[in-house]
Symmetry: C2
């Protein structure tokens, strides 16, 4: 039992707790262990910042299924950041961007690591803020085909505007009523210009089903957030 165990905080957390929050001996915080158990803890030493585990907390902040967002790279500055921040708050397990056929911008090979590092930091901060025990991993693929070849999940759907316009509204509900705890679900979202006929057909060939997300046209960064909220509603509230 790790109760009463002393844990030295990592540098970032130590800085935030001791310098920014001005924690002193006895100040309380929550600590997530590498095995995802959450403990109430208190500061016993400021430098190096060390806490004592007081009591295990019974929190279950993670969605019961693993959700992968696969987003066509948006052209607008700030949108990948918004998707990562809000997607993390809403419980995504992984957030991947892919260069879609209609993506205006692509990430040059020598910039990918730096951009992912930037987004990963946003995911880290958002996970802490929303009291999650998992930090979603952020990844990039240079095409949708590549993305689908590498991301292995139990279920895959695509949010397709044209199918929403034709009144398709049953697929998302059906998928969320079918999926079992600990299974995984990937959802594909187009960039600002939408997915091409080509991409849609390629996904249909792979058996990926089109799901409407309601009758209003959602922006590229809004659709994944709508989707995650629906997953939570069906699996955590209903």
């Amino acid at each position: 039992m790790p109760k009463d165990k002393l844990v030295e905080l990592p540098t970032d957390a130590a800085h935030h707790f001791v310098r920014v929050m001005r924690a002193t001996s006895g100040s309380q915080c929550e600590v997530v262990l590498p095995d995802q158990r959450v403990f109430q803890a208190e500061l016993v030493n400021a430098d190096p910042a060390t806490v004592k585990l007081v009591q295990q907390l019974d929190t279950k902040p993670e969605l019961p299924v693993q959700v992968v967002l696969a987003c066509g790279l948006p052209k607008t500055k700030g949108k990948p950041e918004l998707i990562v921040q809000k997607g993390t708050e809403l419980g995504a397990s992984r957030i991947v961007f892919f260069a879609a056929q209609r993506s205006i911008s692509q990430w040059r090979a020598n910039k990918v690591a730096k951009k992912l590092d930037h987004l990963q930091k946003i995911a880290h901060a958002a996970a802490e803020q929303s009291h999650r025990t998992q930090i979603p991993q952020v990844t990039y693929y240079d095409s949708l085909t590549n993305c689908l070849d590498h991301e292995q999940t139990d279920y895959k759907i695509v949010a397709y505007e044209e199918s929403a316009k034709q009144g398709e509204h049953a697929q998302l509900v059906q998928t969320l009523k079918q999926i079992q705890a600990n299974q995984s679900l990937l959802a594909v979202f187009g960039p600002e210009g939408g997915l091409t006929e080509d991409e849609v057909q390629m996904m249909a060939k792979r058996g990926i089903k089109a799901a409407g997300l309601g009758p209003r046209i959602l922006r590229t960064e809004t659709a994944p957030l709508y989707f995650l909220a629906c997953v939570s509603y069906q699996l955590e509230l209903d």
Copy 2:
């Protein structure tokens, strides 16, 4: 029947269609009439910009219930704008901000009109973008009590973090399964610091029920978007 009827576009729409989109005689667009009917239309004259109604479209982009978001005024610049833009995309009927007890910023009386005008323009643009036929009205109250006194709706709930922490998860589902088409629902959200005990008790006295929005802590601007997606999922997809 207004088919073949000629309609002169309002100045903003005329500028966007003719100057920005470079529409010429015969260019197609969608037009929403004051009674909310939607028509396919084509440009017949550029100055003054005039379209001919070609065919009525059978689109139903509005939520079947009227949803009012009542948001404690956030302190962070850009958050009211995000709530209005995304709240409009996701189908809100009205978006009201109130000076909560923990709101860091308040709007001075002589600035309210200007700030609402700014947010109303964002709602207008987002409504067009998402092909809605209604533009949500944006309003401000100087307290929660004032807000609740003025906003008359069939149902009222409050998203309360403490009730989410205690595992409350049935109230939102219950409300959304109860509400009937054309009824109205108001949901209250706290500012960054949350609602005070005082505000929560005042709402309890009025019979406003606390609803958890899942086990993750959502930021003040994320909670209303989660909520609207759930309304759409339950009432438009299920």
